[in-house]
Symmetry: C2
Subunit: 206 residues, 2 copies
């Protein structure tokens, strides 16, 4: 089983490999991949061992093959349909971001509790009342939910999405979310990235 930390690294190896391949590099060593992320090559080899026997001792990994294996492991070799609840500033910024669709994540349903927003169209999608989740999400085959509501409504929205069949939630709302049974939750706190930056600046950087 891979830990969350290893999964996060797989995503970063994937981006590194895609840049290297674009630059014409087809063979890559665990050292090259590790250097970019600040991990030892032993850690890289351990992470990649999860994908099966891809590397050749002394020669390294074939970049195209490794890219395909990581995409399969991460499940980004297919499309994921998502619903977004809380069509405010952050919700709108996520809706406009092309990076999600490029990796196969499509937001196909919008929900908001503000009567003034219900019925409007944002980035081509109609905003529905949260009451419509139970009917709409199974009909569309939505598996993921993105929560950009205020903290106080996040739990109720998470539970409603879980009841409607959603199997994974990405939440931006601060505070601890009780994980609905059978649903995976990843929470984002952008302060973590600011702390990383503060550390680098404080210690004179890389």
């Amino acid at each position: 089983r891979l830990s969350r930390a290893s999964v996060g690294r797989l995503s970063l190896y994937l981006r590194r490999l895609e840049i290297l391949l674009r630059e014409g590099t087809t063979k890559v060593s665990s050292g090259t991949l590790g250097e970019a992320l600040g991990v030892t090559d032993a850690q890289v080899r351990k992470d990649l061992a999860y994908l099966g026997h891809l590397g050749h001792p002394g020669v390294g990994y074939a970049a195209p093959e490794l890219i395909d294996a990581i995409r399969r492991a991460l499940g980004v070799d297919r499309e994921w349909l998502a619903a977004l609840a809380g069509v405010g500033n952050l919700g709108r910024a996520l809706l406009r971001y092309r990076g999600f669709a490029d990796r196969g994540f499509r937001i196909v349903a919008l929900f908001d509790a503000d009567p003034a927003k219900i019925g409007q169209r944002v980035e081509g999608l109609e905003v529905h009342s949260p009451d419509a989740m139970a009917e709409l999400l199974p009909a569309l085959g939505v598996e993921l939910g993105v929560l950009t509501t205020p903290a106080e409504s996040a739990q109720a929205v998470a539970d409603a999405m879980a009841l409607a069949g959603v199997r994974g939630l990405l939440t931006f709302a601060p505070g601890v979310l009780r994980r609905p049974a059978g649903v995976n939750v990843v929470s984002v706190d952008l302060t973590v990235q600011l702390e990383q930056l503060a550390f680098l600046v404080q210690h004179g950087g890389e």
Copy 2:
């Protein structure tokens, strides 16, 4: 020297410790900290060894002491002043987010290239033209920059902030940013978190 991955873990240990302390736990083992993040206790001990001799073999770490040491190492025991460029959807969501100020990160200057936005006030701050950076940032003592501009203007804005004395940049703009000399860059791609979620859902979760 700590790798980016270890620094990211320090932030997550910090949040875990703060929750445990609020619940009344004062002694914590490396196993307890590691479990929450999916890392081995050997990795936790290695990360924390950077902070000095805090743990007592067999007894664990004193939570309050460890919290202080992590805050000092991350540089969040002090205030950081930041400037934000690109006051659009994402910029506004970041401005309203209380999580930053709670950790000592204060956004004190706003910049946007849209003439219709320059001179307006957003969340109590006046929006300036990017031309005003060279004068304003040193005068305010701003050390960090947050980039929420479109991808095509990110490099120019990063270089202008670097010239004005900024020492660290948090960028959301897609694409690779050339690191201005002497400046640290952390880039955020929220697709990485969605991939983490897809992995958990695909493999039946935790």
